[in-house]
């Protein structure tokens, strides 16, 4: 295959300022229908293998303080808001 194509469609990032918030981590884990977030003792972890399952529901955006969770569609360069 000549061209290099991205095998991942979605990227999710949690702002470092809230990534260690255990309560938020638990909330994100609860609201995400496709298990992209995992709550741990040290905060939130992103489950890489589930990223492409993102259904763009925005529940994580609603659960977190404004502007602290970023969901990017790598195929068109836009971000959910």
């Amino acid at each position: 295959m000549a061209k290099k194509l991205n095998k991942v469609f979605i990227d999710v990032e949690v702002d470092p300022s809230v990534a260690g918030d255990v309560a938020l981590a638990a909330k994100l884990e609860e609201v995400c229908p496709v298990n992209i977030f995992k709550g741990t003792e040290s905060g939130v972890e992103i489950v890489e293998e589930n990223l492409d399952e993102c259904v763009l529901c925005k529940l994580c955006l609603e659960a977190a303080p404004a502007g602290t969770v970023h969901v990017r569609k790598l195929y068109d360069g836009t971000e959910l808001s």
């Binding site: 295959m1 061209k3 194509l5 095998k7 492409d52 195929y75 068109d76």
Partner: protein, 440 residues
Amino acid sequence: MTIIEISSTWAFLVPPNWNLPILPPLRIGSAPLMRFYEFEARQIVELAGIPVTKYGFCKTADEARQAAEEIGGPVVIKSQVLSGGRMKAGGVKFADTPDEAAAHAEDILQLEINGQMPRGVLVDPKAEVKQEYYASVVWDGTAKKPLMLFSDMGGIDIEEVAETHPDHVGKGHVTNLMPIPDFEAKQTIAATGVTGSQLNRATPILAKLARLFRDYDMTLAEINPLAELTDGSFVALDAHMEMENEAVGRQKVLLRKQLEIAEDDTRETYEPSEFERNVAAIDAADHRGVIQGKDHGFSGNLGLVIGAGGGSLTLTDAVRSQNGRPANYSEIGGNPSVAKACGLAKEVLEKDGVEKIAVMMSIVSNTRVDIVARGVIKACLELDKDPAETIAIFRIPGAWEDEGFKILDRYGVEYCDRSVSMWEAAGRAVAKIQGEAASA
């Protein structure tokens, strides 16, 4: 009209102007119906109160000898396989003595017929038959009612009788909502010209067959021949039963207790291929959505990732009718995960001989177009294939299609919306794969 048979419950008619070039009967699907061995069909008929001749189901030659002794006189030894062509394959033999019956049973029990070893042998008396009749009940999908069929020309292919002697075939619908009265069976039989004591004796048999059909959720209940013996009595000499597979769960008393059929005895017509097993495993591992894959009888170069409300059947036929060669049949729907769509597409792509895949569905409302797009593109990329070259066409109109089209645009995959028919989309996929073959 040509009947494309996907299973006993899935078949469709193709208009003559579709000009089908390569269409042998096509059976797809894992045991879409519960089939019964002849000895089991005989038991079902007996349970319904329909008279049968004395018979024995035997698993050894000694048992066959004993059965022949108990029956007395000449007998017929029949291989118990879920396959036609037994007589031609040497699976049906006649014996005049118990020793001869045992010897034939010994041979037949070791005889493989169409890839199947017999479950046992059925020992039947050679009945003194005065006349053979035909009686059956089938599901009429158009009328959505059971249809009783009766003919005074039994023992032969009923389709042939219907074609050559239509006046010898009586037909009558019954309802599933009301008790089935004997008079409806009588009318059906009388339509063939049968009168007198024959009419009176055959009537309860056809009525009981119709009740059996309804009570046991059959898709086919057939007695052929229904014999009038020289003493005037009527008996079922041979029976054929098929049960709707979806009913297996609620027919446990019949299946498990009365017929003693084990739960894992699914009556598959063939061993599932590696492709079929893998697709089933992917489906079972993830509750989201549904996928199915079948490749029994397929050896083409165009992989199909297809589905949606009859779409799989229509699209498979549309590909075949336009001289395409599908590598498989599949069904995808119910909003599968990306992983599931990816898994199916990867399995299809990894099949021997597959050059491209066509991703096509009817119109989806409960499956997201963008999720399937991600899945099939991911499958290509994980197999180090360029989606633009590998996906011949993507035609899934419906929920989240705009988002799906963005993804397809990004990866250069040819796609179309609902303004392009399934037929046309299938034609484009076929043209693309044939065009490449011609220029190679």
